[in-house]
Symmetry: none
Subunit: 198 residues, 4 copies
DNA sequence: GATGAATGAGAGTTCATTCAT
DNA sequence: GATGAATGAACTCTCATTCAT
C-alpha cells in the first residue's frame, strides 16, 4: 500500500472510532465517517469491505488502544500487591474519564449483539498475566480474600470503573446526581478502595 | 379513554419494551413494534406522539418494573445491615439475569444520549430511603467503612451486578469466558461479597 | 386492498413491463419505474417485495398477455390442420411486430439466468393442448412429416417468428438488411410457409 | 505496440468476451474484466477507450470467431445442395452448443440497442457468397421452393439453431422440457430437416 | 378508534471512469 | 507501459411519519 492509501485508511479508522463511539454500529453513518475523514465514501468499502467489518476494525483498534494506555498508565514492574487495587482503580477511572470512546464502543458492541467481539481474543493476555502475578502474591500473603479468584477481582475493578461512566446518565436521575460531581469524581476511587478493603 | 383504547396503548408499550430493549431507540423499528403489538402503526402516533416519546414511556415503565421487582425480591423490613450487601447482590444478580430487558433499556438510554432519563427522577426515592436506613445502622455499628457513603455503596452494588450482564460479550473474549459459566454465575455473588467484606 | 392501492399496484406493473422490456432486469431502474408510474418508489417494495420479484411478476404478466393475444388472434375452433402453420406464423409474426415488449422480456429472462421462468409453468398448457389436437389430425392425414413431433413443430414456429425480431439488429448488418424491409416483412411469412411445406 | 502490450490487450479482449457474454454490456463489470484478465483496470481504458468500445471489439471478435468456426466446420467445397440444409443445421447446432458465448453476445447486442452491430458489416460476405452459390444450384434444380430466397433460407437456419439455445430457459417451462433432453438434442436437427423438406 | 395507502429523506453499497506515481 | 488511489453519480432498499377513509 502506498503512503497516501495508508493515510486514507488510517483517517477512516480514526473517524470511524468517533462516529461509532458516538452513535453505535447502527446509528453511525458511513456517509458521516467519510465526511469526517474527508475521504470519498467508496474508499471505506475499498479498505474495509463493509460497515460491519469497519466496526470490527474499530473495536479491535480500541482494544489495542486500551492495551497501550494501560502500559502507559500502569507501571506493573514497580507495583506491589498492596498497591494493586488502588493503582487499577485509578488507572481505569482516568482511562474512562479521559477516553470515553473506549467504554462506549465496548458498550455498543455488547448491546448490539457482540458479533464482533471475537476479534478481541488474546489481545490483553499478556497484560492479564502480569497483573495476575502481582495478584497471586497478594493471595499468598492473604491480602486478598481466599475465595476470590483473579478473574472476579479484575471483573470488579472493570465494573465499578466502567459503570461509573457508562451509566452516569440514568444513575444521575435515579440514584443521585452528587455521585458525579467534580468533587465526588475525585474521591469515588478512594471510597471504593475502602469498600474493597484496600 | 375507552377500554379498547387502553388495551391498545398497553399492547404498544409492552412490545415497544421488547423491541427497544433488543435494538435500542435507533435500531428499533416503529413498524416492528406495531406488528409485534398487532396494532396499526398509526395508533402509536395517536397514543405516543412519536418514536422518541414512546421510548421515554418505555424507559419510565422499566423503572416502575424495577421498583416493583425490588419490592417483591427484597423484604427490607426483615433485613439487617449484616445481610444487606448479600441481599442486594443476590437481588440484582437475579433481577438482571431474569429480566435482561431492564439493564438493556438502561444501557441504550445511556449510550444514546440520556435525553429521556429525566423521567426517572424520584421514581426510586422511597426505596433508596428505606435501604439507606439499614445502611446507616451498619455505618453506626462500624460495619461499613467510615468513608463510604450510601450512594457509593449502592453504586458499587449496581455496578457489579449490572456490568456482569451488560459487558458479558466483550469480557468473555477479553478477560475470561469462565466468569460466565453456569458454575461461576452461582458463586460470583459470593466472591464479590467477600471482596466487599461481607 | 383498496381501489386506490390496486390502481397503484397495476400502474407499477404496467410501467415495470415497459422499463424491463427496454432495459432488462439489471438495466432497468426501480427509480425509473416509480417515476414512469407516477408513484412513490417505496410502493414498489410494498407491493412487490423487491426488484427481482417485480421482474417475476412482469414475466408472468407478459405470458398472460401472450395467452390472451393468442386467444384473440387465433380462432382455433375454425382452423384446420392445413391452415395451421400459416395461421400460427401469421399470428406470431404479428404478435411480435405489434408487441415487441413480449419477446424482449422473454429474451432478457433467458439471458439473465432464467431464474424467474418457473412462474411460467402451465400458463399455456390449455392452449398447447388445443393446437396439438389440430396438429395431430394433420399427422394422421400425413400432412406433417412422420418424425416431427408437436413440440418441435411449435418450437420451429416460435423460432422463426421470434428470431426475426429478436435478432434483427445483428442480422441486418451481418446477413442482409433486405430481410427487414417493409416489403419483406410482408412475405417472409409466406416464404417460410413454403419452406415448411405449407 | 510492444509485444507485452499486445498480450495485455489480447488478454483484456479474451476475458471481456467471457464477462460480457455472461452478463451483457450493462451487467458486465470493467473491474471484473480487469481481474479476470489479471491486468490493471486502467489498461482497459488505455487500449479500448471505454466500456462501450470494448463491447464493440468483443462483438466484432465474436463474429470473426464465428467465421473461423464456420470455415472449420463446413467444407463448402464438397457440399452439394442436397446436403446443404443438413450440413448447416448440424453446423450451427454444434456451434451454439459448444460455444454459447457467441449467441449470447449476439443476443445481448440485439437487446441492448444494437448500437455496436455496425462493426459486423461485410464480415461474413465471402462466406454467404459461397453458400449462396450452392443454394442457387438447388434453386435451379428446383430442390428448394421457388419463392424462397437465399436470405430467408439462411435466416431460417439461423433461427432454429439459435433459438434452440437462446430461449431454452423459458421454452423449458412454457412449451416442453422434453425438447432439451440429451436425446432430443440429438434428433432435433433431424426433425427440423424433415420439416424443411430436407 | 382504527386502518391501509402514501411519502421524502436517507441508508449502505457499487461502478465507470480519472488521477497520480 | 503499468499500477494503485480516488471520485461522483447512481442504485436498491428502508424508515419515521402523515394522509385519507
Amino acid at each position: 500500500m502506498q503512503k497516501r492509501a495508508l493515510e486514507t485508511k488510517a483517517a477512516i479508522l480514526k473517524h470511524a472510532v468517533d462516529e461509532f463511539s458516538e452513535k453505535g454500529l447502527h446509528g453511525g453513518r458511513v456517509d458521516a465517517i467519510a465526511e469526517r475523514a474527508g475521504v470519498n465514501k467508496q474508499r471505506i468499502y475499498a479498505y474495509y469491505e463493509n460497515k460491519d467489518k469497519l466496526f470490527e476494525a474499530v473495536l479491535h483498534h480500541c482494544f489495542l488502544e486500551i492495551r497501550q494506555r494501560e502500559a502507559e498508565g500502569l507501571n506493573l514492574q514497580s507495583i506491589t500487591y498492596k498497591e494493586l487495587t488502588e493503582a487499577l482503580l485509578d488507572n481505569y477511572f482516568k482511562l474512562h474519564r479521559d477516553f470515553p470512546h473506549l467504554w462506549r464502543i465496548i458498550a455498543w458492541e455488547n448491546l448490539e449483539g457482540g458479533n464482533h467481539a471475537h476479534v478481541l481474543t488474546n489481545i490483553k493476555a499478556k497484560f492479564f498475566k502480569e497483573v495476575q502475578a502481582i495478584f497471586n502474591e497478594g493471595k499468598k500473603a492473604s491480602y486478598f480474600p481466599e475465595d476470590v479468584n483473579f478473574e472476579t477481582y479484575m471483573f470488579t475493578v472493570f465494573s465499578v470503573t466502567g459503570f461509573y461512566f457508562s451509566n452516569q446518565k440514568t444513575l444521575k436521575h435515579s440514584l443521585s446526581a452528587k455521585l458525579f460531581t467534580k468533587k465526588n469524581q475525585q474521591n469515588i476511587s478512594q471510597q471504593i478502595l475502602s469498600l474493597l478493603g484496600g
